[in-house]
């Protein structure tokens, strides 16, 4: 089992750092899955996260100049590691002006992901900073626990409003209530609502658009015959939503959510090279 990778391009490095920062805001520990083509950050320890789970996927070719991976065995050419993303975030934080960043899986006394940052210096040789991030290697028999979650059979799928506005509103609502109701319909309307003894606040978003999903039988029949105006809703922990929005440092290319009435909200945030899915269950 081997892993070595290198990033030389500063823009790629900064983009990668931003992604790690977002992951670090959502999960205290998570799984890093390495395959030949992709990296995945997975959070599925549901009980510990109040039921929320995360699946983030990136194509290694968009970030790394060198990427060599050998999995546990030929037919299982993957590596699953458990780590604290905050460590990785810290290691990359001070690498903003690096000449190169190398990553390597090592096992001197315990498995570590060694991040070596080569920094410019006034002297003849570069400055090197190494960060040994402790990781746990997940054995193959446990890999099934970390499969990609399927898209739920949702009642409504809708594009999210401008994240900056959504973030401000949710942050204020967080001061007023612990729970928030997200409701949306097939006419591109979404409402965010909180209600307590003291106050009710509802924010109305219009003209958001509903993404077209092809259904399994090849036609978009699920929408026909349904009342386009009727709202599907789910009441969720407002803190989880706020964390998701606070972690977004750059506007995604596409942002949408799928709501299963009173069951779960499934967020999908797509950037050019990375996709993030976040599942927040409804409070019963």
């Amino acid at each position: 089992m081997r892993f070595r990778a290198k990033i030389v391009d500063l823009a790629c490095l900064n983009h990668f750092s931003r992604i790690i920062n977002t992951i670090a805001k959502l999960a205290k520990t998570c799984i890093l899955r390495l395959t030949v083509c992709k990296l995945y950050f997975i959070l599925s320890d549901k009980v510990a996260n109040g039921g929320a789970s995360m699946w983030c996927e990136l194509s290694q070719g968009n970030f790394f100049d060198e990427f060599q991976m050998e999995g546990v065995a030929a037919e299982h050419n993957e590596i699953y590691l458990e780590l604290v993303p905050e460590n990785l975030s810290r290691a990359l934080k001070t690498s903003q002006s690096a000449k190169a960043v190398k990553m390597k899986l090592t096992n001197k006394h315990s498995p570590c992901l060694r991040v070596a940052v080569e920094l410019p210096s006034l002297s003849s040789s570069s400055r090197i900073v190494t960060h040994d991030i402790p990781v746990g290697v997940i054995p193959r028999r446990m890999w099934n626990d970390f499969r990609e979650p399927s898209v739920p059979d949702f009642d409504v799928s809708i594009y999210l409003p401008v994240l900056k506005t959504m973030k401000s509103v949710v942050e204020r609502m967080k001061n007023l209530s612990n729970f928030i109701v997200i409701e949306a319909n097939l006419s591109g309307e979404m409402n965010l609502k909180i209600e307590t003894d003291l106050v009710s606040v509802t924010t109305h978003f219009k003209d958001l658009g509903n993404p077209p999903w092809a259904s399994e039988d090849g036609c978009q029949s699920s929408a026909q015959g349904r009342d386009l105006e009727s709202m599907t809703e789910a009441c969720i922990d407002i803190k989880k939503l706020q964390q998701l929005l606070a972690g977004q440092q750059v506007n995604p290319t596409k942002a949408l959510c799928n709501i299963v009435h009173k069951r779960i909200v499934h967020f999908i945030l797509l950037h050019e090279e990375v996709s993030l899915q976040y599942f927040i269950p409804a409070i019963s």
Partner: protein, 379 residues
């Protein structure tokens, strides 16, 4: 004592106070013929700092008169109170034109008066306590290793470590490289803590004269205070150190200012037979591309391990065996003059103290590092 500080020097004084506040809870003021000395010591007596401002630093400097039987007046004040006066450095720069310091022994008050913009005057009357001399005896000449670097280099180095990191290990490696590494305590699970190490080339320093293979571990938090002062004043920082366990001395020099920071270092209690990667002994080579990669055998061991659920534990670290503190003659003196205080880190030996020193300049090299106790209660 009466002195006046004008213009940009007020901010310099403010920065010095900020630096000293990182060390101790009390600020010692000692006017001498060669200038005004501000000092602090930490509660476990393992850190000491002094700033000596020469008479030229001041617009007016009158240390007071010392008769044949009386000494120049010394006192100590609460650090928090003194710091409060200089808390906002930007506003000091913006609005304060002059600072007057007046020691009024008979009124039991230390007066600090700031003359500000728009004719505004801020007068602080601080309570003080008389005290004996707080003096550390140290001799930079007797240290085996010396490093001198622009403050900026060291500031760029410590930025890679989290602000909360308590201790750091400074070491020398092959090729003359100098390393900095975060210190992980024995009690913390070594396999759970991230280890960061930074390597600096010899030619990044202004001068390097170090014993090969040497290393010391000291408190980073206390050092950061001095580092920000050095960076702001654009002064090069010199580090004098010796064996582990002997104090490290940081110095800054200027025409009107002399700064010393003395910190205890961790004793090297482990035997040399221990494996190289445990903290405290940096036998690590400078990083290259060929790291040993033993994951294959590790994975084999994991796949074949029995048992229900969890992944097998990582191979254990050889643990450092705690050893009793070395007994040296100074220990006895420590009992006499020791002031009980909870050390911030149990492992740091206190820079212990002996009897009260007679007034005068610090003596030349002695083999002991002694901090004289300010012993108001004792005679």
């Amino acid at each position: 004592m009466k002195c006046v500080i004008a213009g940009g020097n007020v901010k310099v004084l403010g920065r010095a106070v900020h630096s000293l506040s990182r060390i101790g809870d009390e600020l010692y003021l000692e006017p001498t013929e060669s200038g005004l000395s501000l000092r602090a010591v930490n509660s476990s007596r393992s850190g000491f700092a002094s700033f000596l401002f020469a008479p030229l630093f001041f617009q007016l400097y009158e240390p007071g008169s010392a008769g044949p039987e009386t000494e120049l007046f010394r006192c100590k004040v609460h650090m928090k109170s003194f710091l409060g006066i200089f808390r906002s450095l930007p506003s000091l720069e913006k609005s304060v034109g002059k600072c007057l310091i007046l020691l009024k022994p008979r009124a039991s008050r230390l007066v600090l008066q700031l003359h500000c913009k728009y004719g505004v005057t801020k007068t602080h009357n601080l309570a003080f306590q008389e005290c004996e001399r707080l003096q550390a005896v140290f001799d930079t000449q007797s240290c085996t290793s010396h490093l001198c670097a622009p403050a900026r280099l060291l500031a760029e180095a410590v930025v890679h470590f989290p602000p909360t990191l308590a201790e750091v290990t400074l070491g020398t490696g092959p090729g003359g490289k100098i390393s900095l590494r975060n210190y992980v305590e024995d009690e913390a699970e070594p396999s759970k803590t991230m280890v960061t190490e930074l390597w600096l080339a010899e030619d990044e320093f202004q001068s390097v004269a170090v014993a090969p293979g040497s290393h010391i571990t000291f408190c980073l938090k206390e050092f950061r205070g001095l580092l920000s002062f050095a960076e702001a004043s654009n002064l090069p920082l010199t580090i004098h150190f010796d064996e582990p366990g002997r104090p490290v001395i940081f110095t800054l020099d200027d025409t009107v200012l002399e700064v010393h920071l003395v910190l205890a270092t961790l004793s090297d209690l482990q035997s040399n037979s221990q494996s190289p990667s445990t903290n405290g002994v940096s036998h690590l080579p400078a990083p290259s591309d060929d790291f040993a990669d033993d994951l294959e055998s590790y994975m084999v061991a994991m796949e074949t391990s029995e048992g229900g659920s969890e992944r097998p534990p990582s191979p254990t670290f050889p643990l450092r065996a705690p050893q009793p503190a070395q007994s040296e003659p100074e220990e006895e003196e420590e009992e006499e003059g020791a002031v009980p205080g909870t050390p911030p880190h149990k492992k740091f030996r206190s820079l212990f103290f002996g009897s009260v020193m007679t007034p005068g300049r610090p003596g030349p090299a002695t083999t002991q590092e002694v901090l004289a106790e300010d012993s108001e209660g004792e005679s």
